[in-house]
Symmetry: C2
Amino acid sequence: MTGRVLRLRPVGFVRSPFKEPADLPPPAFAPPRFLASVTGEIVVSPEFAEGLAGLEAYSHIIVLFHFHRASGPKLTVVPPGESRPRGVFASRSPHRPNPLGMSVLKLLERDGRVLRVGGLDLVDGTPVLDIKPYTTRDRRSRIRTGRPGGR
Amino acid sequence: MTGRVLRLRPVGFVRSPFKEPADLPPPAFAPPRFLASVTGEIVVSPEFAEGLAGLEAYSHIIVLFHFHRASGPKLTVVPPGESRPRGVFASRSPHRPNPLGMSVLKLLERDGRVLRVGGLDLVDGTPVLDIKPYTTRDRRSRIRTGRPGGR
């Protein structure tokens, strides 16, 4: 079972003002209002365009993507601005055993197979693997987190 | 670029009281309190156990998993209890171009490489691809959804 391999391919790509990973401020330092103001696009490949029908009814989407610029996995990481190491599964680091990322973005508009999104925290050219509607099941009101400011 | 393939392998597996997909009530029909009461485990493989250090500081986790029982992709689906078709990206159907699922679960306890979780909506044996801490970035207070009840 453990050896089973899952093969995925992009369903679209991100267009972002952040051209390099270094352009993206670490969440620990980016003022929330700054990232909220960043807009960009997700361009879905023509073969998958039909799958977007009805998505415009939702205000927010979940985007699963490939951390395509990550250099490789680490099991222990030191998040930016911190001094103590933690397990990679207790962080949002890109250096994961499976380099999958997840972001909740604001869906500003759908124009055919182009989604205009807000709150963008992704690098230009990021391969998008899946798009899902964000629903009340994804929202937890009472949470406890491992870092100041709810990070 | 579009032909690029990403190869993933499980970092662990789910232990759930739901043995078959048919045992799992569709979200549209499951009383929220019922699913919230379902507990189970995520058992992480020994080689990745170190990556869990510090996760217990978080009350909730994001689990990315393989819809391993899905029969294949569809671009248009009719969600349970509905009559009109919608694009698969506007649904949480398992029949996705990339069969990736995402659930927010309550982390009840970490015992080494075993996570006891609540709110479990996954089938026994589900391959887990990634685990992330749930933070305030994942929480949106004002959302609009495409279905009654915030679904």
